[in-house]
């Protein structure tokens, strides 16, 4: 099995260009690739579109933050496509003051839209959001008399993925509830950078338990200890 390049986090984030759509795994910070996020923050790339479940946690009193919150704080995103922002008052402020274009997407729809892009499908026909603001401007498609919203496939340029283990060909397994959007995002971007807690030799992962097949992964980074 052919190996994928193992690079540093600093090298990896050079693959992200200003204006790129960046998918970041994690759910309220759990399962986010913190080393890549720190490297991206340091590099300073801006005008990004964030595609993520949420904007992670930020406590303005203590300054504590996790997940993508440091990038939100530095206003690196001009657009955020997320399902939830309730735990990050800073993105709410940016939204209310018109600094960041926040596009709220129902969580299951977000997951399927990303998967659809990875699977070569044009979109998703979902009942979710019918009769709500989510429907605004979208096509309604009837199938056997039942209405569904057409939600378009959502592709990204670069995915930042956090795995528990990656083998050197790029096969990945995840850690508990840290799995969440990571395997879906790994399918839906041209460049897929996996930050693995542990990098193992090819053949060390049981082929029955691999969650993300190596074919999706382009680069591997050793996670922070």
């Amino acid at each position: 099995m052919v190996k994928k390049p193992i690079v540093t986090a600093d090298e990896a984030v050079k693959l992200i260009k200003e204006g790129d759509a960046v998918m970041v795994g994690g759910f309220l910070g759990c399962g986010s690739p913190t080393g890549l996020i720190a490297a991206l923050e340091k590099r300073g790339t801006g005008k990004l579109t964030l595609i993520c479940n949420d904007c992670a946690m930020y406590n303005p009193k203590t300054g504590d933050m996790n997940g993508v919150a440091p990038l939100v704080a530095k206003k690196r995103f001009s657009v955020a496509v997320v399902s939830h922002i309730g735990t990050n008052p800073e993105i709410q402020r940016q939204m209310n003051e018109g600094e960041t274009d926040v596009r709220l997407v129902p969580q299951g729809t977000l997951a399927e839209r990303i998967r659809a892009a990875g699977a070569g499908l044009g979109g998703v026909l979902t009942p979710t959001g019918l009769g709500t603001e989510v429907q605004d401007g979208k096509k309604v498609v009837e199938v056997d008399g039942v209405k569904f919203l057409l939600e378009k496939a959502l592709k990204g340029d670069v995915a930042l993925i956090r795995a528990k283990k990656a083998d050197k060909s790029g096969n990945c397994v995840y850690d508990k509830s840290g799995r969440n959007f990571n395997p879906l995002m790994a399918m839906a971007c041209d460049t897929v950078i996996v930050e693995a807690d542990e990098i193992v030799e090819i053949g060390e992962l049981d082929p029955e338990v691999v969650v993300t097949p190596s074919v999706f992964v382009t680069h591997i980074v050793q996670g922070r200890k």
């Binding site: 309220l28 759990c30 939830h84 129902p106 969580q107 979902t126 603001e133 508990k176 959007f181």
Partner: protein, 221 residues
């Protein structure tokens, strides 16, 4: 009669709906309390939309695992027989009708079964998270809410004014004064909780309420 907000009443009543083995998703906040009042001999299987089944109680202090959290980001545990999955599978389970019930918090709920709980425009916009999928997908949708807001206004409305989380998806509204089934454009009062009365509920709730012919008093103290 004086109204005293009581979350436990709400949680206790909802908990009585469930039978052994039901797979349920409980929203963050008040709905989570439901798990505390499940009757003897009934095991609920809790689905956590961030990616696993078999949600267990919070761990002992010092035993927290940052990689095992609930959909509110709080440390939890997983029971034997639980399993992890990605967000697409999580919402396939939810949207696909494989969840017996969901219990969700309320900003507004109306007699058409509309629910608003994710957005107060210009003021507070946490986002819908998984709530829109849960309302559409769960077999039974419970709206769990105090009967009145902090200003004393009825949370049960004729028509929601806030942006909807879901249109016509709520099956039951459970408050701290009574149990309402949403049916044919009205709240059907099935039970009133001691010490409240039918008259009290009819007087204080600004919505169309039909008193069920089998409506009864229930003591949840």
């Amino acid at each position: 009669m004086e109204y005293v907000a009581n979350k436990e009443t709400i949680a206790k009543r909802i908990a009585r709906f469930f039978k052994n083995g039901d797979v349920v998703n409980l929203g963050i906040g008040l709905p989570t309390l439901v798990g505390n009042y499940v009757p003897e001999g009934v095991e609920l299987i809790l689905q956590s939309e961030n990616g696993f089944m078999g949600l267990g109680p919070a761990p002992e202090a010092g035993e927290e695992d940052p990689m095992l959290v609930n959909a509110g980001g709080m440390p939890v545990t997983i029971k034997a027989g639980g399993c992890y999955f990605d967000s697409a599978m999580s919402f396939a389970i939810i949207r696909g009708g494989h969840i017996a019930a969901t219990v969700l918090g309320v900003l507004e709920v109306d007699q058409e079964g509309n629910l608003a709980n994710y957005k107060i425009p210009g003021k507070m916009v946490p986002g819908m998270g998984g709530a829109m999928d849960l309302t559409v997908g769960a077999k039974t949708v419970f709206a769990a809410t105090q009967h009145f807001d902090a200003k004393g206004n009825s949370k049960l409305l004729r028509r929601c004014k806030l942006p909807l989380t879901a249109a016509a998806q709520v099956d039951y509204v459970v408050t701290d004064v009574g149990l309402f089934q949403v049916k044919d454009g009205a709240f059907v009062l099935k039970e009133y909780f001691k010490p409240y009365t039918v008259d009290y509920i009819l007087e204080t709730t600004d919505a169309d309420i039909v008193v069920d012919k089998d409506c009864k008093e229930v003591d949840l103290a």
